[in-house]
Amino acid sequence: MKILVTVKRIPDPVEPPKFAGGQIDTSSAKWVQNEFDEYAIETALRLAEVGGGTERLAEVVVVSVCPATKREHVTNFLAMGANRAIVVDADDTQLDAQSVAQLIAAVFRKEGADLLVSGKLSQDNESNEVSQRVAGLLDLPQATFAASVVWDRSANALQVAREVEDGVETKRVPLPAVLSVDLRIVLPTSVKNGATPEGHPYPDKPRLASLRGITMAKTKKVDVLKPADLGVSVGAKVVSRGVVAPPKRQAGKIVASVEELVEKLATEAKVL
């Protein structure tokens, strides 16, 4: 079993975006991993490991499309426990979702992987499309927005609870397949592989890299490929015409009591 996990670098979402020349100015940004991809690597590791032991049921390979020189986010995922990494050396800020998806699909094929685990969404551009595109390009089944996943190893399939518009759908997909993960995949009992004991004390968030993990990461294999090595010619059919700050909302008033609140809502705001 081989699991590919995608990770994208994004400007630190804690910092409000800066604007210059009618675009977002990332020249002084600190780049970090997309948080949904931390959930993806945590999912992959929980699928691959046997509850804290050293046995592994799957190899976990991290893939990122980014400049080869700007890959701290990849190193972080190796430190968390991925086995090795593949960096597709390209300026991700100049590519659209289709190009990124073509590159990831090509890596998936080249590796003969069984499962792609990705985040549901990039926190910066909020596209929510790369994973679905990869599944379409590979003609594989997909389970997006996963809130929990059970790996049925005897049937070589995943059973996935998906958060949909007005409830939860349970979908079963045979491997190979594409999985995209939502917030609740990192709750303690959300990922089951049939080998980790029930009740294994997983935290409710992605693991932190251990000191040993950080040291090990430096020794792990990272392959750097060019888009041309994968036979993909990249571009962008999505062109930015400009980015502006939204109109700022005025802070309103602090009311002293419930009585005043109701009075204001009725007579001033006229919404009651």
Binding site: P13, Q132, E165, T170, K171, V173, V238, R249, G252
Partner: protein
Amino acid sequence: MSNVLVVVEIGDGKLRAHSLPGITAGAQLAAALGGELHLLVLGAAPQAAAEGIAAAGYGAKTVHVGAHAELEPFTAEAWADAIVAAARSLGVAAIGGTATSTLRDALPRAAAVLDAPLAPEVTAIKGPRVFGREVSAGRAIAEIALEGDVVCFTARASEFAPAQPGAAATVAALAGISAAKRGATVLSIEKTQSARPALTEAKVVVSGGRGMREGANFKVLEELTDLLGGALGASRAATDAGMVPADLQVGQTGKVVAPNLYFAVAISGAIQHLAGMKNSKVIVAINKNGEEPIFQIADYGLVAKWEDTLPRLVELVRARKG
């Protein structure tokens, strides 16, 4: 061709209300492109529903019917097949619809097969292939132009008015649709049962956060919600903790709402939460800590514990509603 195809969803044999804003966005795009609006209805036997939709028209020229056993229940795999087939046989310039979990699942997959660009969760139609959308948790508004013969879009429900009935449309069957689930099966769909309006359609939303502490405490918020005929919402902290179902989450990763009146009770106001409600007309924050960021965007703030204020609020609103 410069026509726009909007994919709509049906439930209980009728158009689902959440598809209406996507039709409006499609109509605006068709006007910008100088083309016609067309609708696509998919299902195992959607003919009767399609006829009902065509009778109301919604500004569309034709309602196309894609019937295939594999299209029900919904899977992205089978729906993407049908959308690709429809796009090719109708030769449309754009395909889209409301940004529901359904289209956000299926449309990017179809777009990949069509080698088409996609504008996700657009908030405005700015020109023939030009869209406005929010990025970075609502802290920036981008304008993007898409290139290519076919482009795709999903429209944020809170930013487009529901389409209104109009002159009747014609109904046409799409011939020779193939659709396959690629081995996937839908085992169950557990719907959150609620008599309340849908979050994205409600005029009033009452949301609770981590400070509510447990699900049972939401009862007082539900009372307020029902007095106002609104919908119940929640922060991620409250949904993660299982206080209320996950589909009530408001925010960057949940529902985006813009009601006339939004109550944020015991919610701190993290950017990811604000991204889902900051376009509400009037925002009320009730929080015991006056320093929380929610007060920076609230029109009316009450610094108090919910335990000490919500019961009285319910009482006063009930008195007012007679």
